[in-house]
Amino acid sequence: MKAKSIKVDYLARVEGEGGLYIKVKDRQVVGFKLRIFEPPRFFEAFLRGRSFREAPDITARICGICPVAYQMSAVHAMENAFDVKVDGPLRALRRLLYCGEWIESHALHIYMLHAPDFLGYADAIQMARDHGDVVQQGLSLKKAGNELVALVGGREIHPINVRVGGFYKVPGKRELAPMAEKLKRARDVALETVRWTAKLRFPEFERDYLFVAMRHPDEYPFNEGHLVSNHGLDIAARDYEKHFAEEHVEHSHALHSVLRGAGPYFVGPMARYSLNFDRLSPLAQEAARQAGLGPVCRNPFQSIIVRSVETLYACDEALRIIDEYEMPESPAVEVQPRAGSGFGWSEAPRGTLYHRYRLDDQGVILDAKIVPPTSQNQKVIEQDLREFVPERLDLPADKLRWQCEQAIRNYDPCISCSTHFLKLEIDRE
């Protein structure tokens, strides 16, 4: 059989710039390039010499879709370095802020980036012509998430209220009350979203993934916990780099991560869900069951249902936090810098986001390392496509191309994130 190629010049409905090139010969994928041509921005380089206080604001700018995740991982790493414990209502507020980002980011992906694939539309706006109510519903859910981020963080994108040690200003209990009403409505929409996504048609496609996600003794993971896998991994943040390695490949501006001795692994909602189903709220668990999901999900196309379940959980959890919230006396705990290294991670909407900093005794950053979820998932995406494509070679070219795109969008890849730390070659100017 003659060689055939599938080419997507510019991946749409992903955050950032990427392309896909697959070459097939004798019904086998012989060439594969998930090309990422998002220009490198060198965050880890210019973090050197900056104050620890600036890390949450600077790293937020890596990604406009999940800035809270960067701020959270950054403050945790700094607090780890300075042996600062942020607890009680301040910790709860961080979790609340994170709920907002999950709701916003998941609603964006479910309704505006992923759902159009299932229904055969180029985008949510075209989808709205036939499914206006559905898109409106998605936008209302997204808006609730954004409003929560803006309430706690000051604004939706690159919030200004997060600092090492806590916040600049904390809301009073009364200020949160109107948000609770909105979140109750959002929770209803999220529940409806789980039901709606469960009815979509999913390609038969399951793989035995190596799932990696954080896990906490009592909570569904956002800010705190060990990193675990379904194959027995259980490590603290400071051991991350002992277990994981990054490889650089020529066709991409992003590094690829592997778990040493095990290879490619899967992070993000499906991994989180499959490793933490027992930590979801009863409402979210029940909704997942009704949607036909078991406690483990292995079909990446069904990640849209998993995201919906997580969105429902985030609404539920946000309401619980608001209900129990008491305004803390001080918006932040005192932070005294000291020399050393700090390790932090948190669960970004797209998966585990790892930060590591080395600091001097004034809290000046000497060295920084950031591993975002999308760079961890790239190898799994590639494996998915290597398996997915050969079985579907008889599809018309357009349709196959579209399904390949959809298979990539299963991961909600954030290309802006994944390329911030590229190695580069100097060129002329």
Binding site: Q136, Y168, K169, L424, I426
Partner: protein, 264 residues
């Protein structure tokens, strides 16, 4: 009345975090009404469908930092009737313009052991350094209400209400208490372009300049006031050198304090 052809909107991305173009999708209440008035013809982050140019309105996010992008921006200009740059990357080179302050070769040899396969330029530059720009909307990120205002103004053929004065005017209008005068917190508000609604002071935090310099910024006196509050030269370098580091006069002001450090 015959239905007029809807104007075509394109959204372009260069080196950036995607946040400014996300602002368009964050206009949850206005998004569908907007599509009744304007044809979203080219917006890869939102749609896989691409309608051919030329485009009546182009929103450009991101800075120019690769040889490929330096070429591509000219194609975008040729395909656009009215071109608006959105955000600090597009209007000032963004945080990635921090590379503009160092000799990139030294920087690479310090930071990276193995050079890789990527083309990059020595500098990250604003779009207006490469092509003619019809309007610049500031902010890191832009304010979504201002984005809606710019698009509405474009649709109605009027000038957008986007004022280049200080953040202080927004701060006082919202009745916030000046953090610099009342708390002794250093604040860049007096030299920073309005647009955020004086967010940081309202959260008891000094402005850190994410909308870049205002129309007539007196950074010299601003720095003197910060020094009176005990801010050191090295921190003055950093405060001007963030998301709008390459915008004059933040650029020059950070250079001044850098040279003061070297003078000892």
């Amino acid at each position: 009345m015959a239905k007029k052809q809807k104007p075509k909107l394109a959204v372009w991305k260069f080196a950036s975090c995607d946040g400014c173009q996300l602002s368009l999708l964050d206009c949850e209440d206005q998004l569908l009404p907007l599509t009744e008035r304007i044809d979203i013809a080219n917006f890869p982050e939102a749609s896989r469908a691409v309608v051919k140019g030329p485009y009546d309105l182009s929103l450009v996010e991101g800075s120019i930092s690769t040889p490929h992008d330096a070429e591509r921006i000219h194609q975008v200009r040729r395909a656009s009737k009215f071109l608006v740059t959105i955000g600090a990357c597009a209007t000032a080179g963004g945080i990635q313009a921090l590379r503009n302050f160092i000799d990139v070769k030294d920087f690479i040899s310090i930071v990276y052991a193995t050079p890789a396969y990527i083309d990059t330029l020595k500098k990250s530059t604003p779009i207006a350094e490469h092509i003619r720009v019809d309007f610049e909307l500031r902010g890191c990120p832009i304010n979504k209400e201002q984005l809606v205002e710019v698009v509405s103004a474009f649709l109605q053929g009027r000038k957008p209400n986007v004022r280049p004065h200080s953040v202080c005017m927004e701060c006082k209008r919202r009745g916030a208490v000046c953090v610099m005068v009342a708390h002794g917190t250093p604040c860049l508000g007096p030299v920073t372009h309005a647009g955020c609604g004086a967010l940081c002071p309202a959260y008891h935090r000094g402005c850190y300049g994410c909308f870049g310099p205002m129309e007539t910024p007196n950074t010299r006196e601003m720095s003197a006031a910060w020094e009176r509050l005990g801010v050191k030269q090295k921190d003055l370098v950093q405060i001007y050198r963030s998301f709008n580091a390459y915008a004059e006069p933040f650029y020059s002001e950070s250079r001044i304090h850098e040279s003061k450090i070297h003078q000892g």
